[in-house]
Subunit: 183 residues, 2 copies
Amino acid sequence: MEMQNKVGINHGGRLRRSDLAVRVLALVLTLAAAVVLGVNRQTTTVSVTIVPSLPPVNLPVTAKWLHMSAFVYLVITNAIACFYTAVSLILTLATKGGIKKVSMIVTVLDLVVMALLFSAIGASGAVGLIGYQGNSHVQWQKVCNVFDKFCHQVTGALVLSFIAAVAYLLLVVLAIFNVYKKL
Amino acid sequence: MEMQNKVGINHGGRLRRSDLAVRVLALVLTLAAAVVLGVNRQTTTVSVTIVPSLPPVNLPVTAKWLHMSAFVYLVITNAIACFYTAVSLILTLATKGGIKKVSMIVTVLDLVVMALLFSAIGASGAVGLIGYQGNSHVQWQKVCNVFDKFCHQVTGALVLSFIAAVAYLLLVVLAIFNVYKKL
């Protein structure tokens, strides 16, 4: 039992290195996703008919992530995930994964961050889909024909976030495999 | 080592009973959420002006979950989660939580179902929010002033799904606590 405790969670081998690699990947991806969506901005002109008897007026309109709650949620969630991943990396490296309680808490927090990311991806994905296709039942017109570059960048941020969320899922699965192996 | 394997994951005590209780709760909640949203339907009349010189015409319009991809996703996800939970309950009861591999696979699947549910909740939540508030930047009008009963029922399904998703999160956390305790 004493020996088991000393061996702890630290494999010092394949599993711990894969945990670190996946964690660094998640850090980079969440940072990239937050930046890609955070700097996303497109200004374009649309013709608007104000008075029917006069010719339409060209007005500049701007799309940015702050205009849609779902995108704000995705940027904030990615930022939180990125910050947490940096802290968890430092913790994992400092304790060398050898302290049981720290490993357990990190796994539970990985789980919570994963849940946050998946809900934010769902939110932005649903809004993005309506942006691309529109929805005739509620008469929400598609807007991605106008804001094409903006929509592409949202898709990019979504892909990055999704890979990051899968990385967190993998981190939890690795931790579960790791501890079950020792039972 | 042999003794440890025999003791396995089965505490036979507090933790295993709490796992069963949470699993039954998740089963009931996902079933309820799928039904509440699946039977959701509201028909109302709206005045539409077809020809400006004639008085507006009252047209019946119906809102149902099939009209919005996000709601379809939420119903399907809850149905999958409900079916999976029934299978996992049978597996857990049949093996009495004593077979290491089964417990591990159930925990990983709990995790995947949790991810699915959180993304579906995010999707329907984002669409529901626009339904309640509208979004002036993309000129998507709110529709919950017209389909009030429909929107209330979506909110109900969302609350049920959210508690179910938290229940799955709890199941994974319980499993993690349970195995770390034995290291």
